[in-house]
Subunit: 299 residues, 4 copies
């Protein structure tokens, strides 16, 4: 059976600042919580003093490819492994991922490396399956306004990383987060990944760091930046990753592939392992400049 | 169990024009079909010599409101009743529709008036339910890239009206149609409903009639225009509806509410019945100028 | 010597509707004038019961090309000849027009055909020169916010056609018109020519017919539509020209070239004479549907 | 007399990389020059190892206001004073600057403080006048495509700071720089100041740091960032200024007003002197992280 449930939030339980009108997103708003909230996943804390680097391939293509990527990024300082098992593709004829087989490879990589696993869920019907494997459920940019999916994902109780829709305003993004929070799941991490603008001669998207600074002021939630999608070019990942750290991001999501030239998806924006090593090294002084430190691999 | 099925389209079965490269959307493309395709729903044909007017409230609010709207638009020349039972809302705290109760009201209105019924499905879990009631399943603008939903909807075999995402390119829109066609469901109707631009001082969206002309040239599918969402203002519906007819649209989707001032959703863009009557009257010479005629109520 | 003059508009001389706040553009606003204003140029009236068609090449390339175009469009029902003598070009290495020689060709074409002449002025230093030749001065899309140029042009007393900047809001467009009106020049004609959006796969710009309907409601000024720039494609000019008429435009600006394949600029969006003939024929029933008639060549 | 001069660039004098097609902007391109070019103005070098901070009020409002701002920003580490004497305003009824009186105040501030002066020129007729007072001529965002103005300004031989049009592509921006370079003026400084996007709920513009990284790769010219216009909010200037440094900008342009609450223009985005002091302090570790140093006041 199907219902379109209404949510009754007791607005008296959120404590608005005197004299201001209640925000459109009472649970996501800074007005409801004095400091920043942190999201704990395993031994890793998002939104605290540590900057979290998540890395891995756009798509899980094979066991070998994933394990090679996982071991590489782990040894270089990433603490979360990304990799898509279910891929939203503009064309129905493109490769859409390995599905459950991809999830199993992610789980194996976690066991081998100790990395946490983040992966996208794009269908309400896959939520339970993906939740069985992933440490963090990712809502992709195209799904940000799939409100029923947001609620299903929220109800798993798992941490959720909510990518901003490439055509969504910051207000819409925070209201999408509110959909998850309103289900009682407080472990929401925001992720800026670039917006669509009028200019795509040189970059695939326009990374919107204004939005990161705004989100940090408007909400208490951690905010991550994905410079790989945000630029669409491997050679722009490093400068924009540094800028993301400088603007106050709580972490980065970086596409890394053992051999980008053979990638089934988004190879042009993927770093190979030597370039990822260089990036991690270049980031250090900028992280230090913010007064933070890099989250370290656990164990 | 869950799988991410790949589609094998036999590209040899589509007949490309000699010397041109195959289109990204072989099934949707004009290259695969010489003339326009028509979509028959009951006694109504989309994409043929008749212009189809679909009208009704944004949201089914009550039995009384819907029946009053249905009888009104039917008597004034609409042949399809629109009305949302499941509403995608930017905020989790807004009214989200009557769900199955709304669908029952739509079915009753159909019985009473003979109108066909179109309504949105926004969740994979509602597809079967909505398909039990609706004559045409609507994919809303925010769901255009919900590819798994597109496939579920396609597999019902019901006609599908695919709204363009408000920040989707025409190419992405046609590829989304391709997702439906690739499931073997040929009854796809496109609907332009306005894009997001940099200017929202006066209108909610920017109705993109270039896209309608392009879609008519690129594909063989019928194309409908929604000037209500496309402008967001009741006083702009008539001029843009005329322009839509002139540019070659195969039909219109118009929001009509018996009392727009009390509407729970989108009242500012809804026509009341006298204004809808005036619109239908004003449209006639423009429909005639195209050499077409208005689709008439059946029976 | 140079000064940045401030304008003192006696706001008491405009008669706002009681109870509404004064508009940002008191002279352009409908609140300052009950009906539509018309702009008379020679025997042609813009904004009245007649629809005005202006046509001609993007750029004056040679005496022969221009005279051939002029005679062609005149015989087919255009009443104003367009043609650029000074062309704003994105690259400094592109052809920028014949300058005064081009103006002389335009004047000769006027003498031979009786057509009025419209041409762009893009530099404050050319205003006097261009005003010596043209019947209507055109402010191009890139110059809409060149406020000092607007004032110089206004002070010639000549009619001014103000193209909307491709990145300007409707409000900014009307405020640019206000710059001209505030100099005491009431003969302002607005022209919508397409905006820049996120989608340029199929069309060069997005023709914004919402803006035409809004401008007709907000101001008393005539509004023209340029579907040639608005689409960038010759095969889309006819459907969008019809839509422009249907939405209420007071005229059209159409690029016509005797041989588009050899055009130095914008050939892809130019009609040849047979296609322009077909367009004029196709427009007639749509003009009739609006209750208006085509402005006829004078004399 | 007026002519539309064509430019003959000897493409043989630029040395393209073997096997690549010549760039659209041969003089601006990195293909024409191996390293970065620097622009020397007085004792200050743009594009070298030092990061240049330019600061001052949006508009020169009075002698007192300007001198107070100048002495303040000078004592805090700025080396160039900004301040508008000619202001492009969307409405003809807004304050447009003190014109030559404003220029005299700027010159006096230079004498008193040793700061260099940058100010905007928006009319071809003012170029000579402004060049008599300014050390650097600024082309504003709305004038980026005023190609005749670009050429007039170039011919003064003065350094030119070219702001990116708020809806110009990076390619168009570099081609506008090419207009200046093609006149033989090599002292061109680029400035990113935010683009217009679909989201203006929280910020006035969207600062495009992708474009800064791209411009640094595509051209050899120095690139400055204006986070004041780029965000439109004083509280966002610091995080975005840090991000601009991190992404590789060669300097910053910051609006500083002794009392932003009384500013005639753009007060909401202006820092007062204590906030500017804090910004300068916060920037230091980020400048150090890039391996660069802050340009110091001369003398």
């Amino acid at each position: 059976m199907s219902t379109a449930t209404q949510i009754a939030v007791d607005l008296a339980t959120v404590s608005p600042v005197a004299g201001t009108k209640p925000p459109a997103y009472p649970l996501a708003s800074r007005q409801s919580r004095a400091g920043a909230s942190t999201v704990q996943v395993g031994s890793i804390e998002f939104g605290g003093p540590e900057v979290v680097v998540m890395a891995g391939p756009c798509t899980v293509e094979s066991r070998r490819q994933l394990l090679e990527a996982a071991q590489g990024v782990c040894s270089l300082g990433a603490v979360v492994l990304r990799g898509g098992a279910f891929k939203p593709r503009t064309s129905p004829y493109d490769f859409r991922g390995l599905a459950e087989e991809g999830l199993r490879h992610l789980a194996e990589a976690r066991t081998l490396t100790g990395l946490l696993v983040i992966t996208e869920v794009m269908s309400e019907k896959d939520v339970e399956l993906v939740a069985n494997y992933a440490d963090i459920l990712q809502i992709g940019s195209r799904s940000m306004s799939a409100f029923r999916l947001l609620e299903e994902v929220a109800r798993t109780g798992k941490p959720v990383m909510l990518k901003r829709g490439f055509m969504a305003t910051v207000k819409e993004w925070l209201l999408a987060a509110e959909y998850i929070l309103a289900q009682g799941n407080e472990r929401v991490i925001l992720c800026e990944r670039g917006i669509r603008s009028f200019d795509s001669d040189f970059t695939r998207n326009t990374l919107d760091l204004n939005a990161v600074a705004v989100a940090k002021m408007e909400t208490h939630l951690p905010v991550i930046v994905d410079p790989s999608h945000g630029t669409g070019r491997a050679d722009l990942v490093a400068p924009l990753a540094k800028a993301a750290i400088a603007v106050g991001a709580d972490g980065l999501l970086i596409e890394v592939h053992p051999d980008p030239s053979t990638a089934l998806c988004d190879g042009k924006q993927s770093l190979d392992l030597p370039r990822f090593a260089a990036l991690m090294s270049e980031l250090r002084p900028f992280i230090a400049a913010t007064g933070r430190r890099l989250a370290m691999p656990r164990g």
